[in-house]
C-alpha cells in the first residue's frame, strides 16, 4: 500500500492559482483512474481534475471557495503498490496529523506553491447547534432562550422576546440580537396568516459568482460611467432581417439583430477607433486595438459570461451570426474555452425580449465602451401628417468617461443609429 499525492496541475498559461469550486468525491471514496475528482476555476474557465490512478481518497487539500496554488497538493489517495509519496506515512485515520502536513497558509494566495487559503470565514450555519438553524422560527410553545439580563432589558423596552430571533447556540437571544431588534423599530401588526420570515441564509460566494462580483466591483470602482440612451427606428432593419431569414440557405444560421449591430459597430469603430480600446489605467495607456473583438454578454445557468467574437471586422454578417450562435451554445453548456471567454475589446449586452426600455450597462473593464440593446417595441411615430406604427429599439450604451467625452460618445451612438436605421449603409463600402 502506498500513498499517491495529486497536485493541482497547470491549468492554463500564466495561471498561478485556481479556485476550488466543486468536490466530486469525499474522504473515504474509492475512485478509479480517470474519475473526475474536482473542478477548479481559473479566471475564465472551469477545469476538471481527473484521477490518474485508482485508489481511496484519504485527504482533500482545500475547501470549496479556497484558492489553490498550482503545484500544491490537492488530494491524497491510498493506492496499491508504491505511492508517489517518498515516505508513505500512516496518516490515513488521523486528520489532525495530516493537517500538520499541509503547507502553512499564507496571506498572498497568488504566490506559486502557496497553500490553499480560506476564501471566507466558515459560514454561520457550520457552527450551529444541531436542530436549530439560525433565525429559524421558535417552535410553538418554546420559551425564548435568553439570560436574565437580556430578559430584563427586553421587559423594560417593552419587547416580547418571543418575536426576537436568537443568533446564539440553541437559538439563544443575546444583547446584540435584542439591540438589532429594537433598532429595526416596532414591527407592523401581524395580519392573520402572514408570518414574518426572519430567517437569514448565508450563501458563500464561490466560483463564477465570486468572479462576477469582483469584476463588477472593479469596473464600477475604476470606471467613471456615462450612459447614453438613444432610440433607433429598426423597422427597415427588421424587414431586411426577415427577408434574409426567409431566403437563407439551410446551412446558414438564423439571423438575429446582433450580427447587424456588430457589423454596424465595426463601421462606427473604423471612424472612431478609440472606442475599441483597453485602458490600462495603472500604466496610463490606452491600448487601441485594430481587431474588433466583440464580447457578447450571455446569461448561463451559473451566471454571466462573456464569450468573444474575435475579429468581427473580418467576418461578414453570416459569419458573425454563426460565431455568436456557436459561442452562446458553448457558454451555456460550460464547454467554452478560456480563450473563447477572454480577449474582448468592446462588448454588447442584450437581454433580448427582456431588454427593457433603458439600462445602465457596466463597462467591461478594462474596455471603454459597452453597447446595450433594449427590446424592440412598436410605437406610434409622427411622420409630419399622421402617426404611423414603427419598430423602435433603444440603445443604452455606457462609456468610460475618463477617456471618452460625452460628445464623442453621442457621435458614436448616432453613427450606429444611422447605420441601423438605413441598413444598406452597413454593407455599402466607402
Amino acid at each position: 500500500m502506498g500513498e499517491y499525492v495529486i497536485k493541482l496541475p497547470d491549468v492554463g498559461e500564466g495561471v498561478a492559482e485556481a479556485e476550488m469550486v466543486e468536490w466530486r468525491v469525499e474522504i473515504g471514496d474509492l475512485v478509479r483512474e480517470d474519475t473526475i475528482l474536482a473542478a477548479v476555476m481559473t479566471d475564465k474557465a472551469t477545469v476538471e481534475i481527473p484521477s490518474p490512478v485508482s485508489g481511496q481518497i484519504l485527504w482533500l487539500g482545500a475547501e470549496v471557495g479556497d484558492s489553490v496554488a498550482v503545484g500544491s497538493p490537492l488530494i491524497r489517495l491510498k493506492v496499491e503498490g508504491e505511492g508517489s509519496s517518498p515516505s508513505p506515512v500512516a496518516t490515513a485515520a488521523e486528520p489532525s496529523a495530516q493537517a500538520e502536513d499541509m503547507p502553512k497558509a499564507v496571506a498572498k494566495p497568488a504566490i506559486p506553491g502557496a497553500a490553499p487559503t480560506r476564501a471566507s470565514a466558515p459560514s454561520r450555519a457550520n457552527v450551529q447547534a444541531p436542530g436549530t438553524p439560525y433565525g429559524a422560527p421558535r417552535p410553538e410553545g418554546d420559551r425564548p432562550l435568553a439570560s436574565p439580563a437580556v430578559r430584563l432589558r427586553a421587559r423594560e423596552a417593552g419587547v416580547d422576546l418571543r418575536q426576537v430571533p436568537g443568533s446564539g447556540p440553541a437559538g439563544r437571544i443575546s444583547h446584540q440580537d435584542l439591540d438589532a431588534f429594537i433598532a429595526r423599530g416596532p414591527q407592523a401588526v401581524r395580519s392573520t396568516g402572514l408570518q414574518q420570515n426572519v430567517s437569514v441564509e448565508d450563501i458563500k460566494l464561490v466560483g463564477l459568482r465570486r468572479r462576477i462580483a469582483e469584476k463588477m466591483a472593479l469596473s464600477n470602482a475604476r470606471i467613471a460611467h456615462i450612459t447614453y440612451v438613444e432610440e433607433v427606428d429598426v423597422t427597415a432593419l427588421e424587414e431586411l432581417r426577415a427577408a434574409l431569414n426567409k431566403q437563407k440557405r439551410s446551412d446558414q444560421p438564423k439571423l438575429t439583430l446582433l450580427p447587424f449591430l456588430m457589423r454596424a459597430m465595426v463601421r462606427a469603430i473604423a471612424e472612431q477607433p478609440n472606442f475599441n480600446a483597453l485602458f490600462d489605467d495603472e500604466a496610463g495607456i490606452i491600448r487601441q486595438h485594430g481587431g474588433v473583438h466583440i464580447g457578447v454578454a450571455a446569461q448561463t445557468p451559473s451566471g454571466l459570461v462573456v464569450p468573444v467574437v474575435k475579429h468581427a471586422e473580418a467576418r461578414d454578417l453570416w459569419d458573425c451570426a454563426a460565431e455568436v450562435n456557436r459561442l452562446a451554445e458553448a457558454a451555456k453548456t460550460g464547454s467554452a474555452t478560456r480563450e473563447e471567454l477572454s480577449g474582448s475589446t468592446i462588448t454588447i449586452t442584450s437581454l433580448g425580449a427582456m431588454g427593457g426600455v433603458a439600462t445602465t450597462p457596466i463597462v467591461n473593464y478594462p474596455e471603454v465602451a459597452i453597447v446595450g440593446v433594449n427590446k424592440i417595441m412598436v410605437r406610434p411615430v409622427w411622420d409630419g401628417s399622421g402617426f404611423i406604427p414603427r419598430k423602435i429599439m433603444n440603445l443604452s450604451s455606457s462609456f468610460d468617461h475618463r477617456v471618452i467625452d460625452g460628445w464623442n460618445a453621442a457621435l458614436f451612438v448616432q453613427r450606429i443609429k444611422t447605420l441601423l436605421e438605413t441598413p444598406a449603409m452597413i454593407f455599402v463600402e466607402g
Binding site: A129, P130, G131, A146, S147, P148, R155, G158, P169, A170
Partner: protein, 465 residues
C-alpha cells in the same frame, strides 16, 4: 385610633415580605411592614436557619461520636463526647437573634416603617393593626399579602403535649430518647436525621411507598441508605392513626391492615405546610383562590387591583428564595418598573444526609413532556475531593434536550451538594447548553467537577470515568 397613609404595605415580615419592603425602601417608596410576631418569619425563626443550625450541631456531634467509637479512618480518636442540647439551642437562638437584628437594620436603612401587630384588611386599600398602643389604621396604594404558611396539623393528632411541630422540635431542651416522625418529607427527614445523630432512636412513619416521594428513587437511595446506617427506622405505607390510650404511644396502621404501637417521648408531625389564608381579614376582600392558595398572575397581582400576594400563601414550591424573588419583583412593579415572573429555575434543596439538590426538570418530567433528552450522571466515587472527605455517596446528574443540548435540569445527591445549587441554577437561568458547562473550567479538586463531568458524560466524552 391613628391613621397613616403610605405607598406600600407589606403584611408579614418573612423572607418574601421583608425583601419586598427593603427593595421598596431602596426604590424610595414610602413603605410599611406589619408583623404580628417576629421579623424574619418562619424561615428565619423556626425554619430554614434554626434547622440548619441544629443539623450542623448534630452532624458535628455525630462525627465526634464516630471518632470516639474508634471508627474514623482519619486516625483521630477522642473520648466520650457529649451534647448539651440546651446550649446548642441557646447558640442557635443567638444566631437567629443576630439575623433578625440584621433584617431590622436593613429595613431601617430603607426607611421602612415597622408596625408590630396583627394586620386585618378593612378593604382593598386599608388595613387595621392591633398594636400595643392601640388600633392603627393604614391606607396604601398597594398592599402585599405575605402571610406565609404554617405546619399542617393532623386532626387526630393535634399539637400539644408530646405531639410537636417543627417549631417546637427546634427548641427542645433535651434530646428525646424515642422520637417518632410522622411524615417522610424533607422537613421530617432533616430533623429526624439530626435527632438520630444526637442520640434519639428515630422512627419515620411515611404514608406513601417511599421517603421523599417528590424526588426520583435514584436521588433518594443514598439518603435511605444513610438513614439505615444511622439506625433510623422508616415505615412506609404506614398511617398514623392517633395516640394510644395512655398518650405515650402512637398507633400506626402498617400496610393497610395490622396496627402497631410506637412508644415515643416526642411525636414530630411534619406532614406539610398550609398557606395562612385566615386571620387577616380575607373575608373583607374578593380574592380569587387557587385551591388553598391565593391566585396570582405573572406579576403577583391578585384578582383585586392594588393587592399583591407573594410567598407560600401563593402556592408551591413553598420556598423562601421564591418568596424573596417575588417580593423583590413586586416592589419594583409598585415603583413603576416593568417586571414579570420569568424565572426558569427555582432550586430546591433537601438538607438530609446526604443532601439533595434539584433544579429544573427531572428525567421523568422531561420524558413525560415528550422531550427527547440526554442524561449524564457522574458519581462522587470518581471525584477526588469527595474521597478526601469520606463522602463518596451520591452523584451529579445533568439532563438536556437531545436536539440542541439545552440544559433542562440538574440534580445532585451528596454531602454538601447544596452549595452546588448556585452553579446549577445559573446554568438553567442563563440557558446553558451541555457544551457551556463542559467548556467551563471547574476548579480541582472540588465537588463541582462532577457537574462538568456529568455534562461531558451526557456529550459522550467524560474524562474521569
Amino acid at each position: 385610633m391613628k391613621e397613616i397613609s403610605c405607598k406600600l404595605i407589606v403584611i408579614g415580615a418573612g423572607p418574601g415580605g421583608y425583601v419586598c419592603a427593603i427593595r421598596a425602601g431602596q426604590l424610595g417608596l414610602d413603605a410599611v411592614i406589619v408583623e404580628a410576631r417576629r421579623l424574619g418569619g418562619a424561615c428565619l425563626n423556626v425554619g430554614c436557619i434554626p434547622s440548619k443550625a441544629l443539623i450542623h450541631a448534630a452532624e458535628e456531634f455525630d462525627k465526634a461520636r464516630h471518632m470516639a467509637a474508634g471508627r474514623s479512618p482519619l486516625g483521630i480518636s477522642l473520648s466520650a463526647p457529649e451534647i448539651d442540647l440546651a446550649k446548642t439551642i441557646a447558640w442557635k437562638d443567638g444566631l437567629v437573634a443576630r439575623l433578625r437584628g440584621g433584617v431590622a437594620g436593613l429595613l431601617k436603612k430603607g426607611k421602612v416603617k415597622i408596625v408590630a401587630g396583627a394586620a386585618r384588611f378593612r378593604d382593598g386599600k386599608t388595613i387595621a393593626v392591633e398594636t400595643e398602643t392601640g388600633l392603627q389604621i393604614i391606607r396604601a396604594e398597594a398592599i402585599v399579602i405575605a402571610t406565609g404558611s404554617a405546619p399542617v396539623e393532623l386532626p387526630f393528632l393535634p399539637f400539644g403535649g408530646s405531639v410537636i411541630s417543627s417549631t417546637e422540635a427546634l427548641s427542645l431542651d433535651k434530646v428525646p430518647q424515642k422520637l417518632v416522625v410522622v411524615g417522610g418529607g424533607y422537613i421530617g427527614l432533616e430533623l429526624g436525621t439530626a435527632f438520630a445523630k444526637m442520640g434519639s432512636a428515630v422512627t419515620v412513619v411515611e404514608a406513601t411507598a417511599r421517603i421523599l416521594p417528590q424526588y426520583d428513587a435514584e436521588l433518594t437511595r443514598p439518603v435511605a441508605k444513610r438513614l439505615s446506617e444511622l439506625g433510623v427506622e422508616t415505615l412506609t405505607d404506614a398511617k398514623a392513626k392517633g395516640l394510644g390510650a395512655n398518650g405515650e404511644a402512637l398507633v400506626v396502621e402498617v400496610g393497610g391492615e395490622k396496627e402497631i404501637r410506637l412508644g415515643a417521648d416526642k411525636i414530630l408531625v411534619t406532614v406539610g405546610r398550609r398557606p395562612v389564608t385566615e386571620g387577616w381579614g380575607r373575608e373583607e376582600l374578593v380574592l380569587d383562590m387557587d385551591g388553598p392558595f391565593i391566585r396570582i398572575d405573572e406579576e403577583c397581582r391578585t384578582s383585586m387591583r392594588g393587592v399583591y400576594a407573594i410567598g407560600d400563601v401563593t402556592g408551591e414550591p413553598m420556598l423562601a428564595h421564591r418568596a424573596m424573588a417575588q417580593g423583590e419583583m413586586v416592589a419594583e412593579i409598585v415603583a413603576g418598573h416593568k417586571r414579570s415572573w420569568d424565572k426558569r429555575a427555582i432550586p430546591a434543596v433537601c438538607f438530609t444526609d446526604p443532601e439533595i439538590v434539584s433544579v429544573g426538570l427531572s428525567p421523568e418530567e422531561a420524558r413525560h413532556a415528550g422531550t427527547a433528552i440526554k442524561v449524564g450522571q457522574f458519581p462522587f466515587s470518581a471525584n477526588g475531593r469527595a474521597m478526601t472527605r469520606l463522602d463518596e455517596d451520591g452523584f451529579v446528574r445533568v439532563l438536556a434536550r437531545a436536539d440542541n443540548h439545552l440544559v433542562l435540569g440538574v440534580h445532585a445527591v451528596g454531602r454538601d451538594v447544596s452549595e452546588l445549587a448556585a452553579a446549577f441554577g445559573l446554568a438553567l437561568e442563563m440557558g446553558a447548553r451541555l457544551e457551556d458547562i463542559a467548556g467551563t473550567i471547574h476548579a480541582h479538586p472540588t465537588l463541582g467537577e462532577a457537574l462538568q463531568e456529568a455534562a461531558l458524560r451526557a456529550l459522550g466524552r467524560a474524562l474521569h470515568i
